[in-house]
Symmetry: D3
Subunit: 246 residues, 6 copies
Amino acid sequence: MSRIDGRTPQQLRPVTIERGWSKHAEGSVLVSFGDTKVLCNASVTEGVPRWRKGSGEGWVTAEYAMLPRATNTRGDRESVKGRIGGRTHEISRLIGRSLRAVIDYKALGENTIVLDCDVLQADGGTRTAAITGAYVALADAVHWAQHTKKLIKPSRKPLTGTVSAVSVGIVGGTPLLDLRYEEDVRADTDMNVVCTGDGRFVEVQGTAEAEPFARDELNSLLDLAAAGCTELAELQRKALDAPLDR
Amino acid sequence: MSRIDGRTPQQLRPVTIERGWSKHAEGSVLVSFGDTKVLCNASVTEGVPRWRKGSGEGWVTAEYAMLPRATNTRGDRESVKGRIGGRTHEISRLIGRSLRAVIDYKALGENTIVLDCDVLQADGGTRTAAITGAYVALADAVHWAQHTKKLIKPSRKPLTGTVSAVSVGIVGGTPLLDLRYEEDVRADTDMNVVCTGDGRFVEVQGTAEAEPFARDELNSLLDLAAAGCTELAELQRKALDAPLDR
Amino acid sequence: MSRIDGRTPQQLRPVTIERGWSKHAEGSVLVSFGDTKVLCNASVTEGVPRWRKGSGEGWVTAEYAMLPRATNTRGDRESVKGRIGGRTHEISRLIGRSLRAVIDYKALGENTIVLDCDVLQADGGTRTAAITGAYVALADAVHWAQHTKKLIKPSRKPLTGTVSAVSVGIVGGTPLLDLRYEEDVRADTDMNVVCTGDGRFVEVQGTAEAEPFARDELNSLLDLAAAGCTELAELQRKALDAPLDR
Amino acid sequence: MSRIDGRTPQQLRPVTIERGWSKHAEGSVLVSFGDTKVLCNASVTEGVPRWRKGSGEGWVTAEYAMLPRATNTRGDRESVKGRIGGRTHEISRLIGRSLRAVIDYKALGENTIVLDCDVLQADGGTRTAAITGAYVALADAVHWAQHTKKLIKPSRKPLTGTVSAVSVGIVGGTPLLDLRYEEDVRADTDMNVVCTGDGRFVEVQGTAEAEPFARDELNSLLDLAAAGCTELAELQRKALDAPLDR
Amino acid sequence: MSRIDGRTPQQLRPVTIERGWSKHAEGSVLVSFGDTKVLCNASVTEGVPRWRKGSGEGWVTAEYAMLPRATNTRGDRESVKGRIGGRTHEISRLIGRSLRAVIDYKALGENTIVLDCDVLQADGGTRTAAITGAYVALADAVHWAQHTKKLIKPSRKPLTGTVSAVSVGIVGGTPLLDLRYEEDVRADTDMNVVCTGDGRFVEVQGTAEAEPFARDELNSLLDLAAAGCTELAELQRKALDAPLDR
Amino acid sequence: MSRIDGRTPQQLRPVTIERGWSKHAEGSVLVSFGDTKVLCNASVTEGVPRWRKGSGEGWVTAEYAMLPRATNTRGDRESVKGRIGGRTHEISRLIGRSLRAVIDYKALGENTIVLDCDVLQADGGTRTAAITGAYVALADAVHWAQHTKKLIKPSRKPLTGTVSAVSVGIVGGTPLLDLRYEEDVRADTDMNVVCTGDGRFVEVQGTAEAEPFARDELNSLLDLAAAGCTELAELQRKALDAPLDR
């Protein structure tokens, strides 16, 4: 089977990770998975939310949103509607949990990092692109907090690993990696998988969009996702190895 | 390892499914998983939301909520706060998707069924109890619509299968079925699994609460959950076999 | 005249008061007036709202709500609508005022008790059932605060009396006690009366639904209500006399 | 006992009813009960809310609000808070019910009249002043609809009577008519009574602010209120007898 | 060209400034520009918003609103809609900025003055009437704070000047001063100008409603506005020269 | 006087206008005024808002927003706060009015164009950059509607001119063109001016941030702004002359 953009089933879209995109944020990454573009800004503030004060531990959280015309049809702004939709809530929470999986709160100290992931253009996989980009912005923000602003002792390691994410799905009977929007809407099963750089799972969210799926289908999707995440982890590593001039 | 309530790792809590709980709803089930009690009311209305009109297809949706003192500490009402929280949104969407997985929209015709799942008392696993109970309420509501109210031709089969759900998690290194609240807070990994009665997966949501998890841990959790869902499907079948006097 | 359920005009519906319904709340009562069922949970917290701090006095407040399918037709959730309706506000305030009428704030000390009254099934008289049940939950919560948690000195008497409530109305020219929903919609005049156990009035709220009412009609309604409240006070006393195992 | 402003217990404050206050509204009355000033504007629109369409019947509703500095201390605007408070809801509903008690919906035809009662200055009794003034604005609006705009046939009588309201309360053991703010805060019992011009009751709302009240206290308050309403009905009649130049 | 009310193009409507309108507010002015009537209440509170604490400087802010039937057609209440509209926001901000232009924050000390400008009846120019009236209410409130309540040392001068505002516009090719509503809707260009008493500009807001405007048109509008503001400043001075009995 | 970035007082920052930025929108422009970057997406839909239906005329509107970390310090999302702030409202309305000034509604026909202006990075002048970029996006969207989608007859001219905007201000006594953020906060007077390509004014909004300004200062600011707009109009023309491949 040939995919709409000529990829093999196991192939990621072209991925770019552009660091230092905005001059204001302590970490700022424009990540692209093909035509999906997400701006991930990390903001560091000293102190933690009230419920965590005095604990000596830090906090990391995330907010996800789409520009109104990130998609093919314009969507109403959630600020205008006066409420955040279920999908936005769900994805914001997913990104936050994923990043917290590689944070050592004690090492971070009583500092807070907020990741804003704003989708500038969407073509499927916005949440997985957001997680993958947000990790890099987080790493830059932690580096800034530790080495520029000196909020964290040099000996500490606030990051315990790396994290990336990819979508997989069964389309027309074939398991595919990194679905574009047109593939996503045709998928029987859709799964988002978040992995650490050492190949373990942080989140596994599989949904039968049309047909319930059997255990062996689940297994082949997990194989595909794990391989995709390994590739993404390598791209994150390369991006972070490059010098960043602020 | 011995669990706080003496269960084996593979054992469900005592499950009760009480049909016909409320006199108003077309399907009404009070489901208990141990001390977790959820009232699941199914409401049938003729017609569908605007975006589906004229399609000849029906719609099923769900809303989940907790009474303020369902938990050990009182929580503020979302109606008073003026907004629905992320967790509520996430679970409502999960229940809706799970039930829609066993619905044939064409067979349902242009009718809408809303499942209200209100947690009266919580002790872990509220979303999985809600799905398990909501399926039974849905079945009663479909039966009412088809055989009492005659909205659906007798020959049609709006339900394509059954659906149930259970939580699993790794606590202190051991995979456990159907976590109570105290187990849930101590779990390294927490997973909610929704299965059809024929053993396929509808939703798989696994989260590393503390430590990322390896593929073999994921596999043993899936085994445990699949077995639990099979047991729950049997309990649903028994409950539905009993006569219901409205 | 014979009522739809065979009662005499002066007769209450069967009333049940089930204490200790929920394991979490400090006072928890499931009260039924016929098919009307309200879960009344009392939550005790140390401390008082900001405007009362340092006064040495406590506070008691209430929140009333209906499950969406407590009634014959499903109502939208107020949390989803993002605002509390006028009727909900009005009844919550009524319940709070009624309970505060029998509270000695000084004796309660700087503690707060919140009464959550959630209607699980409605068939008329939900606010009067809520007040009657909430009083019993309040009594259990005060007892817990004083004798289990030791927040209040044993010598103090935070409760200065008992309080119960009942609806009355003129239907087809006849004054009736404790209206069911079908009677309520046909009533010309509808009145909710809250009394103390010693026969005095805490709240009298009479409304001409169709025809304005004359003084003698008002008098006969008050007579009927006072007798009903006396009966309810006796049922509350019996319920509270029984041992409660938590 | 001498009252702070020298009135006898049975005496109303000076009441003024100024018709035609605003040039835009179909009925516009600035009513004063002493220092309490409420602007009551009646707006007529053809047509009725959706749930009443095709019934041939009209609708009357009311909205009550206070300017932020109508009181001694500035209150936050409900528009800024983004929600309407319980007290506002309660009073708006009371005014609407009171006016609807003297409306013949059939005679009104499918027209809607909204009464906006905005408190410009408050000194106790704002809701009773609002009802008393709103009735006059309603009468002017009905007249305009019938005789100026010809929306209603000349032979019909949309108004079936008149309605006015007054507060009464027990202060220091004495029943007093038409409480000022300083009396209101010191009252043991506070009651708002709405009567028709022929002496029947539309609403009776009595609240034990401090001490529960006995039946004979209730009776003396009702006597006082009925007499006060008779006086107000006479003042309304006089105001409406005067010519109104628009 | 003759205007609808017979004024010359350079003529203001009859302006009245009634001080001490409400008994509660520290400054209270009912200002009329013809049929436009705005109640401007100034409330003084000790202390400043959190972000200004410890600065030794005060704060002045404003809130503008319209009664629902201030206009020819009834508008929905913003409190009922649950949100403040863009126009309300814009005007509130304009009034606040205009008044702050003549405030010496240091001299005011850590006190806050809120100006509530509520339009009771609208006929064009509500924002300019509000600014003109609010200045007078502000002056009275400052005087009260300084000389009655002694919050400010007698030697200080919290007010550095006076401020007034007027609308101008080009209607049918002719620049007109102080537009009524009917002129406003026909204007090609509409401008609101806020001036100090010494003839300098605080705000200039010109909008091409229909046709973009040339520099010479802008100049003639500014001339007209400046002259109008001078006249208004004189009326403010006269109003403030009169004795105020509170 | 030398400016922080070495510009002369009359000099714009480097301006770039990148068309076709997003693949989804009918017009999509990323505009930069120095470090200020605004993404302007134009969305075309057939039909108009309800209040304009059947008029034969179209509609153009705009929504402005900032990403949370567009600025130096992170701001809370308006969607999370549940309400749109006054500044956002004010700027959205300004952009909409500015663009409508060059639209012939009749020629546009019953089509709606929404301009979403999202600030990705802010360094002063976001509203003027937004207007300047939005005009170009609007031109592309009109072209698409007319020549690609054929919603508008080829003979019509929906755009009656061009529109651009720039900020000016007096900093340390010197009138400066196109203020950066650091200049803006130090400005005594701040003015935003919107001009058509033929040199007429659409909006003039001047505010005395610190000191009221005299007529000659206003004049020199208007001169500066008019020259800046002329330059921007030329840049818009060049950008639109280039071919756009979608």
